[in-house]
Structure formats: C-alpha cells, structure tokens
C-alpha cells in the first residue's frame, strides 16, 4: 500500500506511507472537499504515458511516485500496484489529479464520492 486516504471534516487527507514519502518527496496532501471533483478505480491509468517527471521517482513497472507534468497539467503519482490505483480528480489545485495506490480501492472511491455528495 502506498497511501492512506481519509476524510477529516471538509478535507480530504492523503497520507503517504513508509518509504513512499521518500520516493514521492511528499508525506501528506490535504485537499478541501470542495476542490475534489471525483474518484475512480482505474487500473488502466498506469499504462498511459505519464508525462515529464518534475520531482520524485519513476522506475517503470515497479514504482511511480512524485510529480509529473502532462498536457499542461500537474499530476501526483504514488503507485506500485496499478490494480489498486485510484484517480482523484481535483479543481483549482496545484495538481489536476492524484493517482494513488490504496489498500481497498473500491472502499476509497466510495469514501471520496460519498464525501463529495455530502459536502
């Protein structure tokens, strides 16, 4: 597992776990729920060209962690196992998307989507 995602009040909190803090150059992201557009289970996202790495680590087939710029957008990655990758789309944030590996992708998608509906 690369990260833990939870909702704290009106904020989505992404805690990067273990050594991934080092690879991703990040330990925590906090996003207002109002800036979260949605969450999707998307294993196929890992097969796409990730863009230009502007910070972090990329070992193809093993680990993608850190900031990537693609098509004018900044995307944050922290994925080892693409089958557990969740895409969280953001608006009015530095990152257009967070692509994060979590232990239970389906539960995480439900958590984020229901938090958006409530907020």
């Amino acid at each position: 597992m690369a990260a833990e995602i939870r909702v704290d009040g009106d904020t989505l909190v992404v805690d990067i776990i273990g050594m991934d803090k080092f690879w991703a150059l990040k330990s925590r992201l906090e996003i207002p729920l109002a800036h979260v557009a949605g969450a999707t289970l998307d294993p196929g996202v890992d097969r796409e060209f990730k863009g230009i790495r502007t910070g972090g680590t990329h070992f193809p087939g093993w680990l993608t962690a850190g900031r990537f710029r693609k098509d004018g957008e900044m995307v944050f990655w922290d994925v080892r196992d693409p089958n557990k990758a969740v895409v969280i789309a953001l608006r009015d944030e530095t990152y257009a998307r967070l692509i994060i590996e979590v232990a239970d992708p389906r539960a995480t998608v439900d958590l984020v989507e229901h938090a958006i509906i409530r907020s």
């Binding site: 557009a37 949605g38 969450a39 999707t40 289970l41 998307d42 294993p43 196929g44 996202v45 796409e48 693609k70 098509d71 004018g72 957008e73 895409v87 789309a89 257009a96 998307r97 998608v109 439900d110 989507e113 509906i117």
Partner: protein, 137 residues
C-alpha cells in the same frame, strides 16, 4: 487546464449512456470508456471528474431525452424500447448505494406513475427486463 479536450460532450454522454445501459456501471472500466467514447483519459477526468460523474450525466441525459418523451406512450412501445434499459440498470445496480442516482430514478418513476398507475409502471419495467433477457427488445 490541460490541452486534450477536442470532443463533443453530448456525443460522449450519449455513447456512455448506451454502454452503461448494456453493461451496467461496474461492467464498464475507464479503459472501455476511453476506447468506446474516443475521449482522452485526461479529458474524461477534466470534464466529468470521475466515472461516476460521467454515469450521472449519462443517466440524466437518458432520462431527459429518451425516457421522459416516452411517458404516456403505448405499452407495447415502452416494452420494446431499449431507452428504458439505463433506468432499469440504475434502479437495480446503483440507486441502492448512490443517493443521487436514487433521486433521479425516483423522480422519473413518479412521473411514470402519474401517467399510468404505479402497478402499470412496475409491470412495464418488469416486461422490459424480460425483453432484455429474451433479446426481444
């Protein structure tokens, strides 16, 4: 905002409605959407926020443009109408766990109930479900 967004949103929503009606929400992956809709993954997330965001848009489009115009139509027409399929799938698969989908489904069912008796609405949907199984519709 990123660059790749050269696609017709309405066409993409219509294509998504057809795909979700055939395979249901869980049966459609983002890879399926990207290949069937001809939309960049980036664009899909930029415009719709998530697969669920696109699904909601597709469901609302289908209810407004496919189902609502049929209210009051002859029973035989309704039963043979694939346009009811996304409503059926939404009612069985997504509505129990998604309050926004449940609201959309409840609203259109109430409209159908007003046009005919609630028992007739239930019969119609059941007959449509059966038509799907037997590929008559």
């Amino acid at each position: 905002m990123g660059r790749p967004r050269a696609f017709d949103e309405t066409e993409a929503v219509q294509a998504a409605a057809a795909l979700f009606a055939r395979r249901a929400f869980d049966g459609v992956s983002v890879d399926d959407l990207v290949s069937h809709l001809g939309v960049h993954r980036n664009s899909l997330y930029q415009v719709f926020g998530s697969k669920r965001g696109l699904y909601l848009r597709a469901l609302r489009w289908s209810l407004q443009h496919q189902v609502r115009p049929l209210i009051g139509a002859d029973t035989a027409v309704l039963v043979s109408e694939p346009a009811l399929d996304l409503l059926l799938m939404a009612a069985t698969e997504r509505a129990p766990e998604d309050p926004e989908v449940a609201r959309e489904v409840s609203t259109i069912l109430a409209e159908l109930d007003t046009a005919v008796r609630p028992e007739t609405t239930a019969t119609l949907l059941g007959m449509r479900l059966r038509a799907r199984v037997t590929r008559e519709g």
